[in-house]
């Protein structure tokens, strides 16, 4: 099995070629691509949505103070919506991650085949 990080050799370990070969497999490339296709846009969306709150509270106070339900204003509803959006993105990630897990399992199966071929 691979070297645990505790021993930390500076030279590439004897298994380095195996890691490189796994990294070159189609299954591994597909796994990375699938993750990237979810994580990058999801991160951009949540960061933008989050910073929209302090920016609008700070720079557009008149709009944010507009009351929409009795005394409840847009600022409070926008802040509450942040919680819902965070939970929603977490849910979507967990759902998407099922596919990542399947792809990772495929990569691990490839490793078995690589080793069977005599490494």
């Amino acid at each position: 099995m691979p070297t645990p990080p505790g021993s930390e050799p500076r030279t590439p370990s004897a298994t380095a070629s195996v890691w490189n070969r796994i990294a070159q497999t189609d299954d591994f490339k597909k796994l990375l691509a699938a993750k990237k296709a979810f994580v990058v846009p999801a991160t951009i969306i949540f960061v933008l949505y989050y910073f929209a709150l302090p920016v609008s509270v700070g720079y557009f106070p008149a709009f944010m103070q507009r009351k929409v339900w009795g005394p409840v204003n847009i600022a409070y509803l926008f802040a509450l919506s942040q919680f819902l959006v965070a939970w929603l993105i977490a849910y979507l990630y967990v759902r998407a991650a099922r596919e990542f897990d399947l792809r990772a399992a495929a990569v691990i199966k490839d490793l078995g085949n690589l080793e069977a071929k005599g490494n």
Binding site: P4, F46, Y59, V72, V107
Partner: protein, 536 residues
């Protein structure tokens, strides 16, 4: 003997029982540092929430909302959204590639000794500052809550400190995790109960509640009566720099949480990355519910107890306990106070174990001993001594600072360092092939230094106080602030990233480190070669 004290003692008895049980299980490094990696998703999720919802949140945020309305709620929002960074980017790769500390991941491809030294310095700085803030608050609070029982600030701080040392030294990660779980369950139940009572007070009418919140009466320092809409932003963060400060705070929160060492180590206690993922989701439910409810605590205190009364009876940190007293009488006050106490104890224990693990694993085993224990059990022995030393130093500093010291900036500092020093280096270690030792050291150093310097020349330390301010509460430097923001993130986070980028680009390429990038990527994304849970 008063009820609060009895409940305190009950909590102490239960947690010491757990520590005794855990001490018999902590016979190996994996069990002492990582609870055998057998903590389940819900358990770790509750423990992460427990580590995160500190007394500063329960008492501090409720107090901020009680005094400044909406602006206090801005903290609550950032505290939850921050977990998306943990979930999407950090938790799983960290679990897959590390062993006990944040530095395991940072040192994976680089020359380990300089990187571990800097990472450990950053970890210990964040943990100690955060801990001193909690201890000063704890001492003041316990002394206040147990007023009349003869317990002084000094005795309170010392007892909290000794208990946290006992949990960590004897019970290790197993005891710390369970103390955290019990505390989190108590805290969430208490918060839900208190919020329910606030709603009951308004006849279960949200309309009546919000109407009261929109017209809060109190007296300004000059004695005039004011009526404010507490749903309106801007009561705390005012022009000219308020908007920028809010933005800067937001950056520190959502990028800092994923760099807080005591949160990161929790992901080493679960069996695999998938469990780490589900534990973040568990934590997000609890943390989200808790922080939404902080508005009921804060606004409840503002409308039912009143800002004037809170200011005269212990200040804004007492908002939640005073609200409990107003709604449920002395027994409920005792219950909520005991929860606040449990919260403080659990959080300082979590901070102590992350600081002492970093010293033992990063500094002792990997830097001094070059990665090998010379004697079996040495790493654990060093960690126990480090926990004792860290605890003793924090007790001493908290006692010297005294109960009225203005320490809230230490929490801001902890988040700023985590966001500016730790996060850039974690991200580049995992995602940037060219990233090397010089980049890691430069990024950590720049982020750490920038955060500390900007806080020290900012308004938390440098402010000219009015002559009426009590001596102990005065700012350390009586001079107009050089840096106008309380929160340095908006400047220190980019500086941390730039330090890491320039450190890398201006130094020689590291072929051995780049060679290991494929290995790190495969491991981070598949869990191949990850540390396994310890079988029975």
């Amino acid at each position: 003997m008063n009820t609060t004290l009895i409940l305190f003692l009950a909590f102490i008895a239960v947690t010491l029982g757990i520590t005794a049980w855990a001490s018999r299980l902590s016979g190996s490094s994996a069990s002492y540092f990582a609870a055998n990696r057998r903590v389940s998703a819900w358990q770790n999720g509750v423990a992460v929430a427990g580590d995160y919802m500190s007394a500063a949140s329960f008492l501090g945020i409720a107090g901020l909302i009680a005094f400044f309305g909406y602006d206090g709620f801005m903290y609550s929002v950032g505290f939850l959204v921050a977990y998306l960074t943990v979930l999407l980017v950090v938790a799983e790769p960290l679990r897959n590639t590390g062993k006990y500390t944040m530095a395991d991941v940072l040192a994976y491809r680089s020359h380990p000794r300089p990187v571990r030294a800097m990472a450990s310095l950053s970890t210990i700085t964040v943990s100690t500052f955060y801990m001193i803030a909690q201890m000063v608050g704890a001492g003041a609070l316990v002394a206040l809550l147990l007023k009349g029982s003869g317990i002084s600030f000094r005795l309170a701080v010392t007892s909290v400190g000794i208990l946290m040392i006992v949990y960590v030294v004897f019970g290790g990660m197993i005891a710390t995790t369970w103390v955290q779980i019990i505390k989190a369950i108590l805290l969430i139940s208490g918060t839900i109960l208190l919020s329910f009572m606030v709603l009951a007070h308004f006849g279960f009418s949200l309309g009546a509640f919000f109407t009261a919140v929109s017209q809060v009466h109190y007296h300004a320092p000059d004695g005039s009566e004011v009526v404010k809409d507490f749903l309106t932003p801007g009561l705390r963060y005012k022009p000219p720099y308020g908007a920028l400060d809010l933005l800067s705070l937001g950056m520190a929160l959502i990028f800092g949480t994923a760099g807080l060492p005591h949160i990161l180590v929790r992901f080493y206690t679960v069996p695999d990355a998938k469990t780490a993922r589900f534990s973040v989701v568990w934590a997000m439910w609890l943390i989200g519910i808790f922080y939404i409810l902080t508005t009921f605590l804060g606004w409840g205190a503002a409308t039912i107890v009143g800002r004037d009364f809170i200011a005269k009876n212990g200040g804004n940190n007492m908002s939640a306990p005073l609200l409990a007293n107003a709604l449920g009488g002395p027994i409920f006050f005792a219950f909520i106070s005991a929860i606040a106490f449990a919260t403080i104890l659990a959080v300082v224990a979590g901070l102590t174990i992350s600081a002492s693990t970093s010293f033992a694993h990063d500094v002792w085993t990997n830097i001094i001993r070059h990665g090998q224990e010379h004697n079996p059990g040495e790493e654990r022995r060093v960690a126990r001594i480090a926990a004792f030393v860290v605890g003793a130093i924090s007790i001493a500093i908290a006692i010297v600072l005294g109960p009225t010291a203005n320490v809230a900036f230490l929490v801001a500092l902890a988040f700023a360092v985590a966001a500016s020093a730790n996060l850039p280096v974690i991200l580049f270690s995992i995602f940037w092939k060219r990233f090397n030792t010089a980049g890691a050291v430069a990024g950590l150093a720049t982020g750490l230094l920038a955060s500390i310097v900007l806080i020290f020349i900012g308004p938390s330390i440098m402010t000219v106080d009015a002559p009426t301010v009590a001596p102990a509460a005065r700012h350390i430097i009586q001079h107009a602030p050089i840096f106008p923001l309380e929160n340095p993130g908006i400047l220190s986070i980019p500086l941390g990233f730039l330090g890491a980028i320039f450190g890398t680009l201006l130094s020689q390429r590291d072929p051995a480190g780049e060679e290991k990038f494929a290995e790190l990527q495969v491991r981070a994304n598949t869990g191949l070669g990850a540390e396994k849970a310890v079988a029975h």
